[in-house]
């Protein structure tokens, strides 16, 4: 229903990640208006209180801006969007490294694994 959520993370955080991902991929561009709280609640199948929290936290992160009576908009501060992209990279790298360490891989093995995977993908694209 709406969005499929992972079990081990609060829904509001998953929605922040989802919106931040869409902003980084330019699906939502600087200055774009986000759906209203209720619209986005219906779209994702989530309680409106949760969406309110999503928008509030994203505002604190300075990724979006709420204009009174107009709605919530993606920030036009380019520097913030660049650092958001960097933050997301960091977050995924950390999660990857943590999982790999738990499985007993060394950093060298991880890097080699990434390079090998990259080369395979390149070959496939040719």
């Amino acid at each position: 229903m709406g969005v499929d959520f992972q079990p081990d993370k609060p829904i509001y955080q998953q929605l922040i990640d989802r919106l931040a991902g869409e902003i980084i991929r330019s699906i939502r561009k600087p200055g774009d208006k986000l759906p209203s709280v209720r619209e986005y609640a219906v779209e994702t199948g989530v309680n409106a209180n949760t969406i309110q929290r999503v928008y509030r936290e994203m505002e604190q992160m300075e990724i979006v801006q709420t204009k009174r009576g107009q709605g919530t908009f993606v920030t036009e501060e380019n520097a913030r969007l660049v650092s958001l992209r960097e933050d997301m990279k960091q977050q995924y790298v950390e999660a990857f490294v943590k999982d790999m360490r738990e499985l007993g891989f060394t950093t060298t093995e991880m890097i080699r694994g990434l390079e090998e995977y990259h080369d395979e993908q390149e070959d496939r694209d040719d």
Binding site: M1, F5, K9, I11, R38, G45
Partner: protein, 235 residues
Amino acid sequence: MIEAKHISKRFLLKRAVEGIDLELIPGKMYGIIGENGSGKSTLLKLLAGLLRPSTGSLKINGSPLTRKSATDIAYMTDRGRFYPYLTVKQLVDFYDSQFHDFKKEKAFRILEYLAIDPDEKLKYLSKGNLGRAKLAVTIARESPFILLDEPLSGLDPMVRESIVKGIIQFVDFERQSLIITTHEIRDIEPLLDEVFILHGGKIIDHQTVDDIRTRERLDVESWLKRKMQGNESMS
């Protein structure tokens, strides 16, 4: 606010619910979960003022909660029947005549959203459409508390989804509170702020959904299962 202090309900010798303490504030979505026979429906009827607690105190906004509190509480059950010869439109008129906070125009908007023909007779509606029609008249009230007893029970996935969406679309999350009993937890979880687990008539845990996911790293359904297992191994 609805405030229950140590309420219990007995039917003859059977204890249906026991020693319930809870506080429900407007603007929150609550789920009461637990297996069949755990006392969910009895608790909801107590909160609706349809049953009187055998012991304990139950208040709404500081006054005793009674049958008359129905003016502030909208209640829907999957059991109760409507007059089958009424049309959906006549059902709306009936609700309009019974409840001062009923918004007729809103009822028709909800029916339209849920694709229910107002001229259809209730007896010709499918189970899913009857469920939708009941939801429409229930949430067309502006009462501060809306109590739904198993709103998704026995309905197919499409209907369940439209009922959840209807609730999100039309309930005023800032002013109204929703209290839902359910065992279809997966569909309802994204709607909820807080969850009570009822087991053997007692509340054995109460958490916010965010806390369950953050601290326990579980969704509500898995959390319930783990709690129930823990409870069985103790007894």
